[in-house]
């Protein structure tokens, strides 16, 4: 955490100095806003949290409910989401209170006594070390609390407006082209209708999204004919794996068993079997007692003694994805700018059992928010916004395909599929962990030199590795220093030790002094020199041999009212920190060329370019493709 350079900070440094709209935040929902977000779920709140770091824009979240969510129905938090939370500074906090999945245990009928289940096998949750972040289960409501806290502490001082429901929108012309009708649902505003004018609207209003309807997007998918009972319960039991994730197939059916936070609660997804086509929702009337009875039948010879049911429901698996994520018709793409977007369940609905929903929804929001922030703050042309639907719609389709496969396997009968499920589970681990997203080349993803960084896949999120920060001799995870502040990261991996890296030195001089360099073209004159680009250097050497005061000036920017020089952007590679458990050489771990490499990472943490130090023209062109001259 860096602070004090804009004035002495006595209280929580997570509370950033108010700026822009945060200097006088509106207490009532304003009539005109830059961005109106409909819905305060994971997609909406992630968008709002990131936008809160762009205090020149007015963002308002409206929520039908009259206060915070109490019991969230989503609970699976992928490692990629925890990685994202690190950028929002609450990864450690939520990890402390969450349940952590380390293993999945597979149960099947005992061949010698098929009425009973026996433990067939155990697999590690992340056997291949996909991430340094854990896989968690925690109440969605707590994730939303943390995002809300981040918004409140941001320069914009944003807070959701509770008790307003979306009615309809129309897109017209002018500075605030989207006209939105809303109605109060609680308190003094109950029944009151208002019209809000927005530059942009995000529909994060769930599976039955009205915003989706209003922009005429199609929610494509097939109805489901398989039902599940789901319960969050507290029990006493003799089942030995009650506190680990289990996939249970017995003669009586199947259970997906997910322990939850706090040491006692768990969620049980109980297979209720195929649903006749003419069922007309009858299955949803299945009583709780029947689900518990079924659960006990499946667990035989073990049983559960239910002490309390915190929440339960019956649902049928649906798999649907929307054809586009904004209000620009497919045939109009490129000729028109979008003004209305949809995200999260409004775009993709599927089974809950692969623990994907909340995660993909938050990544929708993370993808969209910085782009809106760039356009609204004048850094980028609105054409940038077309990349949101282009990038995220494909991801949603992949998700639906994966989840359909997963749900089908889970519901299969045990004899034919128990080992196949385990196999599928292990082979596809990277997908549910959230790391399979790979954006193709576009305005935002350059045609980079992958061979300069063989294990830093272009278009995928930047997988962190440890380094030593030279100035204070501390081991740091390089990627964890990437905060959700809307900045691009440019990592310069030097072509040798300090003093023996001519290419780095030449590149750094160009970055600092050339009128063509992105820093000089795109950084506003009155802003801190590192306000758009956070440029760091990594020298392949021992930190004690590196003199931070002799690094090129582009890596030692002076900022803030005092012009204090920031020494925290210079790194070495001799990592060995038993206290944090950090070790390894980032050049080797990430396959960085000895001749050096420049790696560009987007504000939402995706690797967007890989270049050599000679490719200064390409670097300039890449950024000029979507950033305006300052």
């Amino acid at each position: 955490m860096q602070f004090h350079h804009h004035g002495y900070v006595s209280e929580d440094p997570r509370v950033l100095p108010a700026d822009g709209v945060g200097l006088n935040p509106p207490k009532e929902l304003p009539e005109k806003v830059d961005v109106l977000i409909v819905g305060s779920g994971p997609a909406g709140m992630m968008t709002a949290a990131q936008l809160a770091m762009f205090p020149s824009a007015t963002t308002a979240v409206i929520e039908r409910r009259d206060g915070r969510l109490k019991i969230g129905h989503a609970d699976g938090v992928q490692a990629r989401s925890v990685e994202t939370f690190e950028a929002f500074d609450f990864a450690k906090k939520i990890t402390e209170e969450a349940y952590r999945i380390t293993e999945t245990r597979f149960w099947k009928p005992d061949p010698d006594n098929p009425e009973n289940i026996i433990r067939a096998s155990i697999t590690d949750d992340d056997p291949t070390g996909i991430s340094e972040f854990p896989h968690l289960i925690v109440n969605q409501a707590r994730v939303l609390d943390c995002l809300r806290e981040f918004m409140a502490n941001s320069p914009s001082r944003t807070a959701p407006f509770w008790g307003w429901e979306f009615l309809e929108l129309t897109v017209g012309e002018g500075e605030y082209p989207v006209e939105v009708k809303i109605r109060g649902t609680a308190g003094e505003q109950e029944g009151t209708e208002r019209t809000i004018y927005a530059k942009y609207v995000l529909g994060a209003d769930g599976a039955h999204s009205k915003v989706r309807q209003d922009i005429g997007a199609e929610h494509i998918g097939k109805p489901s004919y398989h039902a599940w009972g789901v319960m969050d319960i507290l029990v006493n039991t003799d089942f030995p794996d009650i506190r680990t994730k289990c996939i249970i197939h017995s003669k009586a059916g199947a259970i997906l068993h997910i322990p939850r936070e706090g040491g006692y609660l768990f969620r049980s997804y109980v297979d209720l079997g195929e649903v006749p086509e003419d069922d007309n929702g009858q299955v949803r009337k299945t009583p709780l007692e029947e689900i518990i009875k079924k659960c006990n039948e499946i667990l035989h010879p073990y049983s559960i003694d239910v002490k309390e049911v915190a929440w339960w429901s019956v649902y049928e698996v649906g798999h649907r994805v929307t054809d586009r994520f904004d209000d620009v018709l497919v045939e109009e793409a490129g000729t028109k700018q979008p003004h209305v977007f949809i995200a999260g369940d409004a775009c993709h609905t599927h089974s809950a059992k692969a623990g994907q929903g909340m995660n993909v929804s938050m990544q929708d929001g993370f993808n969209l928010a910085w782009k809106l922030g760039y356009v609204l703050s004048g850094r980028s042309d609105p054409s940038l916004l077309a990349t949101y639907s282009a990038e995220r719609q494909v991801i949603a389709q992949d998700l639906i395909d994966f989840d359909s496969d997963w749900a089908r396997r889970m519901a299969a009968s045990p004899g034919e599929d128990a080992e196949a499920i385990e196999d599928f589970y292990v082979k596809t681990a990277e997908f549910p962990a959230g790391f399979m997203t790979e954006y193709p080349p576009s305005l935002l993803i350059g045609q980079g030199k992958q061979d300069l960084a063989t294990r830093v896949p272009l278009g995928k999120r930047f997988k962190s590795a440890p380094v030593v920060r030279v100035c204070d001799a501390t081991a740091q995870h390089l990627g964890h220093l990437h905060k959700a502040d809307g900045r691009f990261r440019i990592y310069a991996f030097a072509d040798g030790e300090q003093g023996s890296c001519p290419k780095l030195d030449e590149w750094a001089e160009w970055m600092a002094t050339s009128p063509d360099s992105p820093v000089n073209r795109h950084t506003p004159k009155d802003a801190d020199i590192d306000s758009i680009f956070d440029i760091k250097v990594i020298y392949p050497m021992a930190h004690r041999d590196c003199d931070v005061t002799k690094a090129p000036k582009i890596f030692r920017p002076a900022s803030g009212p005092l012009g204090l020089i920031d020494l925290n952007k210079v790194f070495a590679t001799d990592v060995d920190d038993p206290i944090q458990g950090f070790a390894g050489d980032i050049f080797e771990m990430r396959g960085i060329d000895k001749g050096g490499a420049v790696i560009v990472v987007r504000p939402d943490m995706y690797v967007s370019h890989i270049l050599s130090f000679d490719d200064t023209a390409e670097l300039g062109e890449y950024f000029a493709g979507f950033l305006k001259d300052a």
Copy 2:
């Protein structure tokens, strides 16, 4: 974190259910309180935070200042303090925002050019792996904020009463024998005098403690004749080690250089030399400019360009320790119970430079608070309270001796002592890290069998080691599960794998069923069975081979209104968790005998007994020595 078993928790689980005095916490300072704490510094707030976990007792903190501390003068946080913060659930939070010391760099005059300094050597801060916790520098005000938050979230819902200063106290008779006169210092209460009646009073009112005066304790020490200038400053500089801890000796004098949190600020202790005996405080009038000039002279050929001074002062080193820490005269010890205590700077004052003050003060409070909680909640006889002064006065004397030595070496001229200082620094690392405290045998420290756990020193704090929690297959640091809830921990290290550990099984049966067992003697009938003793078992085996439902019942207590069985107290030893960086076998790491061992750890984390499974009588006697029958 464990929760949900006393009802579903939707909001932050760190906010515990209110209980006792917390059900209706007083808004105004009550006339009668169980404990009155004078002063809201580290000693007072740590005491209050721990007492807040005993909601049957009324604790009030009064503070002369009219609000929270803004700029704290102490900033050094030992690993032992961070370990303590883990028990109060804010270790990770404060670590995130703190500066972390990993190295000390020694500078001395260049032999070839003695006007200049050169870097002589670098030593690791914790070369021997004393602790898994870091050594931090962070504003004392933030530590106090975190303790205040813990109090607010505790069952007692305690908050300090600002704007009251202590005037005097007298100890009489009756239920509330201490009569305390106080006066309002701010707002409406300014100038108002009140009398408060307390069962116990803690003077945590600093070096000039009036409580100390009123109980006639002697503050013994010698005046100092060496002065230091201290500055918290923001600079630009060419000195390469500005962000690491440095000990600098040059021809022009000495500097102790301590970087601070946030990436820019540092504290410089500049040696102002010997002070004549007849100086009469003149040295304290040294102007800031002279200290900065001196600093630049010492740093030559480097220099600092000071951009802002956040705080500065001049002080002379004083070393004083109080002869007793309570109101019982040495000659009356054992015949009278104490009612007034002193802690922190009220008992021990010394130089700031070894970064000890705040840390030792908090341990004073941690030591005293649970004892007061036990007496006030009826668990123990008041005779327990005599152990506070007995245990802590010796620690204070050790501190003063260490610090005198340290200050003398720091102030010495460079030629004679530079290497000696480095040597001293490395050799004594365990002391400043806070781990040298070793309480001698007493009412609270049993004459245990050290050979059953050779690397778990009796009387020292329990050094954690990693284990695997069987129920959820997660690696845990055993000691980090010790929360500041006032409970004793009893760790049963089994004499073999599950099913092959007859001694453990017999002991567990005795603990669960014998009327002589501490659990049955000292746990109130209407309380949860694990409310006084948190009893855990560690089996020397792989977690996947251990069946948690087959562990003896004493390790699977049913608790809460639902009688839910707690499965979180059973551990295995096959630790290998790359995500958390945990590895190792606790039996080997802590020298545990293969025949098993019972290790008792006090609420303040000190190892208080080590016994074999056969020693049930001794275990019972130990607890009966200071716990009442329930």
